[in-house]
């Protein structure tokens, strides 16, 4: 039993370029949103729209980051080379989300910002997620991986907590939790639940096909 999607493998010589292309494409929503907002083309409350656009894309990149492993386990698609870019995109979108809140929304009114973070649970949770992202972003390089060894793996398990914080922050920020918030909470839950299941699944899979499926690099 093998599940191999019919997507052609990318030649190795394009791997590096494809990662840089992902960064370039990944920032398009922010750039386009900023252009629309700065020229008065975002509807209604432009600052809020932009802030929410950035937050939503940050959550999407977090979900994408956590999807790399199950994609490899279940479908044999090895997109590990994009994981760092996706994680860093999530980080930069959170930075922009927070900067928009601080500068455009609150005009750097620090007493209000501090009070917001301390008193409003959904902002506290969002801020906690942001703080946890910082060490992950700082150690998202080969040197840190070599330097930290197995501790790097343990540190980067924070990504699970961060994604959960992001989804909860999103759901708590709206007046009524709707389908969109439930979909993100559901996706994060499935992705997190996969982690304890995957050793057993991969063991079973190896028994079935005689080798781990992720050797088939694509």
């Amino acid at each position: 039993m093998t599940v191999i999607p019919a997507i052609p493998a990318l030649p190795r010589k394009y791997h590096g370029a494809s990662v840089w292309a992902l960064y370039a494409v990944g920032f398009i929503p922010a750039v386009f949103g900023f252009y629309l907002g700065a020229t008065g083309q975002l509807p209604g409350d432009a600052i809020k729209e932009f802030e929410h656009l950035l937050g939503l894309w940050a959550l999407r990149y977090l979900v994408a980051t956590l999807s790399i492993t199950p994609l490899r386990d279940l479908f044999g698609i090895n997109w590990l080379r994009y994981r760092r870019a996706l994680g860093l995109l999530a980080f930069w979108y959170v930075v922009m989300h927070f900067a928009t809140y601080m500068i455009l929304d609150k005009y750097l009114d620090f007493p209000t910002i501090v009070a917001d973070i301390a008193r409003r649970p959904f902002i506290t949770i969002g801020m906690a997620g942001f703080i946890m992202l910082i060490p992950l972003a700082l150690t998202s390089n080969n040197w840190s991986i070599r330097r930290l060894g197995s501790r790097w793996n343990r540190l980067h398990k924070l990504a699970y907590v961060i994604a959960a914080a992001g989804a909860v922050h999103f759901a708590m920020s709206v007046k009524v939790v709707g389908p969109q918030q439930l979909i993100y909470i559901g996706m994060v839950m499935v992705l997190l639940l996969w982690r304890p299941l995957r050793p057993r699944f991969n063991q079973w899979r190896r028994a079935q096909i005689g080798r781990p499926s992720f050797e088939r690099a694509r």
């Binding site: 907002g37 509807p43 809020k48 009070a115």
Partner: protein
């Protein structure tokens, strides 16, 4: 106040108008101040720095025409609205208007969906006519009012600030008449203390009321104390910007209470009931710790999840309009309405 007088004044102010409404109102209708039943009314003062630079609203048409998308939006916006004439009212403060495209495309009307653009996008199949409002409860003469009958009340244009509980605001030129005039016709009994309102329930025409996910309990209900309902600032609105209401704004008839958060302004009303008990209100049922019965605009009482101290004025041109402003107690209508709440703890009765 005679009808002949109304005819004369609105003839001199044809729609659509591109100029400042407030100035025209006073120029065109110098007698209005003497005629109004509440001559003590003074329009709330607006600081000069808070007034939107003229270019933002005078250029509205040019801006819309400049973009194909804007043009389409404008055309769609016209589709469901008919011209509506009204008498400029002395109750209108001289304040820069929020562009019509924002007033008609940035809405909270969960019956059509929870996103701001949903009401404009999903309300196309809603039928605002025929329509009638049933008025019953503790009244001497309960009855129904057809929409034509409502349109026959002497209509006034009221330019009001609208402060949403989500910390944004607009300035909207409503057309309507004081709710008190409708209540007079049904003769409330001495025992009546509150007024309850109900929105139409039509899952077949309102996608937010149908399907698997229901954000709120339907029908939407709201309520006011009788003295709030009878206050001269409280109106039933039938139109805005010189036209009948569009579906996304609560067609064909909605409540506007300018010193309260926007969610008190119940839309597409089918029933008004006079009662002696405080009526249930939809957002209070949904989250009692976040939305109270009174819901008076109050910068000193934060929403549990955000501050109400400031607000963002919609439609002032993107990121750098510097449009964040301080929220005023009672949305700036304190001089007119604060006395309604004398001796009340407004922090407890939020």
């Amino acid at each position: 106040m005679t009808h002949a007088m109304h005819t004369k004044t609105w003839l001199r102010t044809p729609y659509p108008r591109d100029l400042n409404f407030g100035v025209m109102a006073t120029d065109a209708n110098p007698l209005a101040a003497k005629e109004t039943p509440m001559s003590a009314y003074r329009p709330p003062k607006i600081a000069a720095k808070e007034i939107t630079p003229e270019k933002f609203f005078l250029n509205r048409r040019g801006f819309i025409a400049a973009t194909a998308g804007g043009l389409l939006l404008a055309q769609r916006a016209q589709a469901s609205a008919a011209a509506l004439k009204a008498n400029p009212s002395p109750f209108s403060p001289d304040e820069a208007l929020t562009p019509e495209k924002d007033v008609t495309n940035y809405n909270n009307f969960y019956e059509f969906g929870t996103d701001k653009g949903d009401p404009a996008a999903n309300s196309g199949s809603f039928k605002p006519t025929p329509w009638s409002i049933k008025v019953d409860g503790m009244v001497a003469s309960p009855r129904e009012f057809g929409i034509e009958e409502l349109m026959a009340f002497p209509l006034e244009e009221r330019i009001y600030r609208m402060r949403c509980v989500e910390a944004w605001s607009m300035v909207i030129p409503w057309i309507g008449f004081p709710l008190a005039k409708l209540l007079d016709k049904v003769e409330p009994l001495g025992s009546a203390k509150y007024v309850a309102f109900e929105t139409v329930l039509r899952p077949d025409q309102m996608p937010g009321q149908a399907g698997f996910f229901q954000p709120l309990q339907w029908p939407y209900v709201e309520g006011l104390r009788l003295d709030e309902a009878r206050h001269p600032l409280t109106i039933l609105a039938l139109g805005l910007y010189g036209k009948t209401l569009q579906n996304q704004n609560g067609a064909p008839v909605r409540l506007v209470v300018p010193w309260k958060y926007g969610f008190k302004g119940i839309k597409s009303i089918v029933k008004i009931t006079l009662t002696d008990k405080q009526p249930p209100t939809t957002w209070n049922i949904s989250a009692p710790t976040e939305y109270g019965f009174y819901a008076n605009v109050n910068p000193a009482v934060d929403h549990p999840r955000w501050s109400q101290a400031t607000e963002n004025r919609i439609g002032e041109g993107g990121f750098f309009g510097g449009s964040r402003r301080k929220t005023l107690p009672f949305n700036g209508y304190g001089e007119e309405v604060a006395s309604l709440y004398a001796g009340m703890d407004l922090k407890a009765n939020f």
